[in-house]
């Protein structure tokens, strides 16, 4: 922390309050002060109000109270334009790029040089490439962003912000989708920017990173700003306890797995994507009752397609999937679920829930065959209510009643609704995709414990996650996926270090067929 002399706050947010249309009180008199040229971390549970605060700073949401002071002047942002004009740039957790447009077009969008009414592509490219050099991206300028890997997309987002003359750069959970290596690279670049006098605000759930990169940390809890502290003066443990409000440990009680019969058997599975490329390429493995198999990998290496084929959301192009020994090729999703499969999707808002419907209605959506919900052949409000309330209690879903629309819950609680439904299906095979993405420590821990409980009750669990910490905590064995294939299989997580794992995730290293073949567990127990 070299530059302690320049502590003039470049930005101050004073007494900011924000209430969303659905009544959620997301920010409550929040104050934040950021110094020029510092990397300022913003941490907090889900729904703590971090993104909201930043969306307000970026002019995407209007504060109901409070003021923003930028370099001493009070400013009001009616839209992102205003914020951008005042030198604020934001990189969103979910990238905001137009896939069909080239890098240049995306970067210059809204600020294109114009000649005779037409866009002046040449000048545009020149301007962009100046900034792109910083990130060694000059050569990609004409490629459509849709084709780029996640890591690069993020760079494009940063370039986009800088092109617009951002002095203050907001990054919302930038590392959630990055490998350790990519994260390192990102941090180097952030340091570069810092040294050039840029100010960075950095949102993350990963406290270790926060410790590593930031100068100061602001901690939010339930819409309130708890404190802002110097990074040196505080430990991860302290941060998390102040985030959650209570002091508790993350480590889980977990006894060794006792794998039994194979419940999920995948053989030579292949998915052909657009432009005829094999997005999943001849993949074989199996998951046994009583074990948690983790699949690691950078997003977009085929995990998603793999899961979609296993869960029946995508048709199988080649190969086979057997659940409980039955080939699922011909089965409908309904039949799969009846076979005993349940699935926590990575995108809860899109796949896991009908957010505008009530919690209760969401909970029964997969249980409509359950006669206990009916009274003389008609769905009974009362019986649904009882059942829903039961689950709301069991899974500690924070809400005023089971009639509240799901859209009014925070990410974490939305996820709990999904989990509550999926874990009460009497399923034998549980497929959990990013089960705690963007979910606070408390909720995450709860879900982890549930997964382990089910494992011990002899379920087979297939876990796909980009969060290595989670992967290590839960998995009994690990498969690494790279470019549609498995690049490694580890019968035991302790065998491999995070950096090592990172190498396999990036395809720097790849195991031999036979090593990977062990993932099928044939020698141990044949599939029924």
């Amino acid at each position: 922390m070299t530059d302690h002399e320049q502590v003039t706050p470049i930005l101050e947010m004073r007494q900011i309050s924000k209430v969303y249309g659905n009544g959620v009180y997301a920010n409550q008199q929040v104050s934040l002060s950021v110094n020029r040229g510092e990397i300022h971390a913003l941490v907090g549970e889900n729904g703590a109000g971090k993104s909201t605060l930043m969306k307000i700073l970026f002019g995407m949401e209007k504060p109901d109270q409070g003021e923003i002071v930028l370099e001493g002047k009070t400013v009001t942002f009616r839209s992102p334009q205003d914020a951008i004009a005042r030198g604020i740039g934001m990189v969103h957790q979910h990238f905001k790029l137009v896939d069909s447009l080239s890098v240049t077009e995306n970067v210059t969008m809204g600020y294109e040089p114009v000649k005779r009414g037409f866009i002046d592509r040449k000048t545009a490219k020149e301007k962009v490439s100046k900034i792109a050099e910083l990130f060694e991206l000059q050569d990609e300028l004409d490629t459509a962003t849709g084709k780029l890997p996640v890591g690069i997309k993020q760079k494009v987002e940063i370039i986009k912000a800088l092109y617009r003359g951002a002095q203050i750069l907001i990054l919302d959970e930038p590392t959630a989708v990055l490998t350790p290596q990519e994260t390192e690279e990102l941090f180097d670049q952030l340091m570069k920017l810092k040294s050039r006098g840029y100010t960075v605000i950095f949102i993350s759930h990963k406290l270790r990173e926060v410790k590593q990169i930031s100068n100061r940390i602001s901690i939010m809890r339930q819409g309130k700003m708890i404190d802002t502290v110097d990074t040196d003066g505080i430990t991860e443990q302290e941060i998390s306890s102040r985030m959650v409000g209570t002091n508790y440990s993350k480590n889980l009680a977990k006894k060794a797995a006792e794998p039994k019969e194979v419940l999920l058997q995948v053989k030579n599975l292949t998915a052909v994507g657009m432009n005829k490329k094999e997005v999943v390429n001849n993949v074989s493995f199996s998951v046994r009752a009583g074990e948690i198999t983790g699949i690691a990998g950078v997003e977009g290496n085929g995990q998603n397609e793999l899961i979609q084929m296993i869960t029946g959301l995508r048709k199988i192009d080649r190969g086979s999937v057997c659940i409980m020994g039955r080939d699922t090729g011909k089965l409908s999703i309904q039949e799969l679920r009846e076979l005993g499969m349940s699935y926590i999707p990575s995108d809860r808002m899109e796949d896991g829930l009908a957010v505008s419907m009530s919690i209760g209605e969401n909970l029964i959506s997969t249980k409509l065959k359950d006669r206990r919900l009916y009274r003389h052949h008609l769905l009974s409000k009362k019986k649904i209510r009882d059942m829903a309330n039961q689950l709301v209690r069991d899974y500690r879903i924070k809400c005023d009643s089971q009639e509240t629309p799901v859209s009014m819950l925070s990410g974490g609680n939305m996820q709990k609704v999904v989990v509550a439904r999926e874990f009460t299906q009497q399923a034998r095979l549980i497929i959990a995709e990013q089960p705690t993405r963007g979910i606070d420590v408390g909720a995450a821990k709860f879900i982890h414990e549930e997964l382990i409980r089910l494992r011990d009750e002899n379920c087979a669990v297939l876990l796909v996650t980009a969060d290595l910490e989670e992967l290590y905590q839960l998995s009994d064995n690990i498969l690494v996926m790279y470019d549609g294939r498995f690049s490694a299989y580890f019968p035991n997580p302790d065998q491999v270090s995070e950096t090592e794992l990172g190498n396999y995730m990036l395809g720097v290293k790849i195991q031999s067929e036979t090593e990977i073949g062990r993932g099928c567990h044939e020698e141990e127990k044949p599939a029924i």
């Binding site: 995407m60 969008m109 294109e112 986009k160």
Partner: protein
């Protein structure tokens, strides 16, 4: 049957295809521009109808064709301005608003006509002007081609010119690029510092202006009068044409021509006393079939 073929390969027939396609082409381009901005404008039908009345009224009161056309365009813009206001400002559902506007238009036009002339059917009371047909100097002398391509209404040539103009506009201009971007991923545009609503508004207004031209063509060129509900579903066919053209101006133009062809065919089949009801449903039936085939193809693509 032989006779039918004879007719189909006459210059007259091909000439009529172009004539019949023109209003659909206008509507299709109107649908295209708004669709690319991510708003499906089913109000085109009503917008055209309203514009076609206003064109007649305008030209009748000013006594000048072009002022009439202008009047149609302006009212087209006004109508889609209304749509934009409700959809973008008051956040109504675009489809429902479109339907509402169509219903409104078919009543409002009769209402206005009645107030102005005491008639509810035709605008013959109003001495409106017709947009002139023009012969293109060189082309008209080419033997067959001349009689096919020449001698159309000014607006017809404008329609085909519009196709090229739109293609360039979408590809090369700022607004065009924004429109494509908004259609594909609106919130990236918003966060890039462009007001999505502004882009959509502009797209819708352009769409309205084009519909206005289409309306003007209906009542000042296709025929020289306004009659109630005279757009007769062309605004709807356009939606199909746009879809089948995948939002690409050139392809959309082709599907518009295809429907014009179906229309021309149905007019001629009647002459060999084929049941009029059946011939009249042909263009619509073609549309459905084409739509199905198109969708099937798209799906196979996405599956692969």
């Amino acid at each position: 049957m032989g006779q039918i073929l004879e007719i189909i390969f006459t210059a007259d027939f091909l000439h009529s295809i172009i004539r019949l396609s023109t209003p659909i082409l206008f509507a299709t381009m109107a649908a295209l521009i708004s669709e690319r901005a991510g708003v499906i404008n089913i109000g085109i039908e009503g917008t055209m109808l309203f514009a076609s009345l206003m064109g007649v009224v305008g030209s009748a009161f000013t006594g000048n064709v072009w002022l009439g056309v202008l009047c149609a365009v302006v009212s087209g813009i006004a109508f889609s301005g209304l749509l934009s206001f409700f959809h973008l400002k008051l956040e109504t559902d675009i489809v429902l608003t479109g339907i509402a506007l169509n219903l409104m238009s078919s009543g409002l036009t009769i209402f206005i006509l009645y107030i102005l002339t005491g008639d509810k059917g035709v605008s013959t009371q109003l001495a409106s002007k017709a947009v002139p047909n023009i012969n293109i100097p060189l082309i008209q002398d080419i033997p067959v081609l001349g009689s096919i391509l020449s001698g159309h209404s000014v607006l017809t040539y404008l329609a085909f010119f519009l196709v090229i103009a739109l293609a360039i506009f979408l590809k090369k201009t700022k607004l065009g690029t924004y429109i494509r971007a908004v259609g594909e991923n609106s919130d990236s545009v918003e966060t890039a510092g462009i007001s999505v609503n502004m882009v959509r508004l502009k797209a819708l207004l352009i769409s309205g202006a084009i519909s206005g031209l289409g309306g003007a063509f209906m009542s000042m060129a296709y025929v020289n009068m306004f009659t109630k509900d005279m757009v007769a579903g062309r605004g709807f066919i356009a939606l199909a044409a746009e879809a089948m053209g995948r939002g690409v101006p050139g392809l959309s133009m082709l599907s518009a021509l295809f429907f014009g062809m179906a229309d021309a065919l149905s007019n001629n089949l009647q002459l060999f006393n084929m049941p009029s009801e059946l011939t009249r449903l042909m263009p619509y039936a073609f549309t459905i079939v084409a739509l199905g085939i198109y969708a099937a193809r798209e799906q196979r693509k996405s599956k692969a």
